[in-house]
C-alpha cells in the first residue's frame, strides 16, 4: 500500500523530531525558548497524529494513531536519519530544525493542491507552522553563526555533523507512486535557496557532504533511535490502552 507507507514515513518524521525537540522541555537555555521549543514539538506531534490517524484509515485494519506510534519497533520506523539525530547542543538542534522545516514548508505548500482532501487539510495547518519554524530556527542560526567565536564554532560543527543527512530529504521513498503527494526531489532548489539565504546572513556556506547517509526510509537507523523509542513507547507498552 504505497499511500499507507508514504503517510507513515511523513508521520514518523514528525513524531520522531517532535519527540526530540520535546526533550528540551525544561532544559532550554532561557525561559522564552523553553516555551518556544515545546510549541514547535507539539506542532510536529499534532501533524504526526493527523497523519497516523489517516494512515490507519487507509490501511483499514483498525490500527489507530497509538498503535502506529507506540507498537512499531525501530526497524519498522520509516523516518529520516536527520530527525532522529540526538539534540546535541542548542546550535545543533536549531540547525536540524531549520533543515527539516525548510524542506517541509515547500512540501506542504505543494500538498495544498493535492488531489487528496485529507492531505490538503493536514497541509493547510502544517504549512503555517513550518513557516514559523523556519523563521524561529533561522533567526537563531543567523545569531549563533554570526555571534561569538564560541557560537560560530558550535554552529559550524552542527553544519558539518548534519550535512551527511541532507540528501535523504529528497529521496522519494514510498511516495514514488503516490500522485497525491509532492515529489520530494522537486523541492531541492527551494530548500537550497532557503538555506543559502539564512547561511548568507549567518556568514556561513552550505557544503554538501561527499558521503551522504540514507537508509531511514528502509528502517535502517542509527543506534540512537532505538533508545528514543524505548523511552517514548515505555508507558504505552507497560500499560496498553491506558487513559487519563
Amino acid at each position: 500500500m504505497p499511500l499507507f507507507d508514504a503517510l507513515l514515513e511523513l508521520a514518523d518524521d514528525h513524531l520522531v523530531l517532535g519527540h526530540r525537540v520535546s526533550e528540551w522541555c525544561g532544559h532550554a537555555p532561557m525561559l522564552e525558548e523553553d516555551l518556544a521549543m515545546p510549541n514547535m514539538a507539539l506542532d510536529m506531534i499534532g501533524t504526526a497524529r493527523s497523519l497516523y490517524d489517516y494512515a490507519g484509515q487507509v490501511e483499514g485494519k483498525g490500527r489507530g494513531e497509538d498503535d502506529l506510534a507506540y507498537l512499531r519497533s525501530e526497524r519498522e520506523y520509516r523516518n529520516l536519519l536527520l530527525v532522529e539525530r540526538p539534540n546535541g547542543d542548542f546550535a545543533h538542534t536549531m540547525l536540524r530544525q531549520l533543515y527539516f522545516a525548510a524542506f517541509m514548508h515547500p512540501y506542504w505548500t505543494a500538498a495544498l493542491t493535492s488531489e487528496d482532501e485529507t492531505i490538503q487539510g493536514i497541509a493547510g495547518k502544517a504549512v503555517k507552522e513550518m513557516a514559523y519554524h523556519i523563521r524561529h530556527a533561522g533567526e537563531w542560526v543567523i545569531r549563533l553563526g554570526d555571534g561569538t567565536e564560541e557560537s560560530a564554532r558550535r554552529m559550524a560543527d552542527a553544519a558539518e555533523a548534519l550535512s551527511i543527512y541532507v540528501g535523504e530529504l529528497f529521496e522519494e521513498g514510498a511516495a514514488e507512486d503516490v500522485p497525491a503527494l509532492p515529489r520530494r526531489a522537486d523541492l531541492r532548489a527551494t530548500w537550497e535557496a532557503t538555506i543559502a539565504e539564512v547561511f548568507d546572513e549567518a556568514g556561513m556556506t552550505f557544503e554538501p557532504s561527499k558521503y551522504p547517509q540514507s537508509g531511514g526510509r528502509d528502517g535502517r537507523h542509527g543506534e540512537q533511535l532505538g533508545h528514543m523509542l524505548a523511552e517514548m513507547q515505555s508507558v504505552h507498552r507497560a500499560h496498553p490502552g491506558a487513559t487519563w
Partner: protein, 93 residues
C-alpha cells in the same frame, strides 16, 4: 544567561479596533527575537492579532516617591465631570 540579555515589554492587541495592552515582559537578544518570543510566550491561545515589543530600558517610569503629588489630588471633586445634566437621548457615555 538572562543577565546579558535585554528585557522587553510586550503589548498585544486582542482585536482590530482595540488598543495594544501591556501583557508582560521577556528576555530577548534583539527586537526580532523579542517578537518571536512574545508570539511564543503570550499568544499561544489566540490572545491577539498584533504584537508590539519595546525595550524596557526605553520606558521612563514615574517615581513612586512622587506618588503623593502625582496621584493624590485630594478633595478636588470639581475635576470629576459630574455637574452636568446629560440628556437621556445621549445614552451611555
Amino acid at each position: 544567561m538572562t543577565g546579558e540579555v535585554p528585557l522587553w515589554e510586550v503589548f498585544i492587541r486582542p482585536r482590530n479596533g482595540l488598543s495594544h495592552k501591556h501583557v508582560g515582559s521577556l528576555h530577548a537578544t534583539d527586537e526580532v527575537m523579542a517578537l518571536q518570543a512574545a508570539r511564543d510566550v503570550y499568544t499561544r491561545r489566540g490572545e491577539g492579532n498584533s504584537i508590539w515589543v519595546v525595550p524596557s530600558a526605553a520606558i521612563t517610569a514615574s517615581d513612586p516617591d512622587q506618588a503623593g503629588e502625582n496621584f493624590e489630588p485630594g478633595e478636588k471633586i470639581y475635576r470629576h465631570p459630574t455637574f452636568y445634566d446629560i440628556p437621556e437621548q445621549v445614552g451611555h457615555m
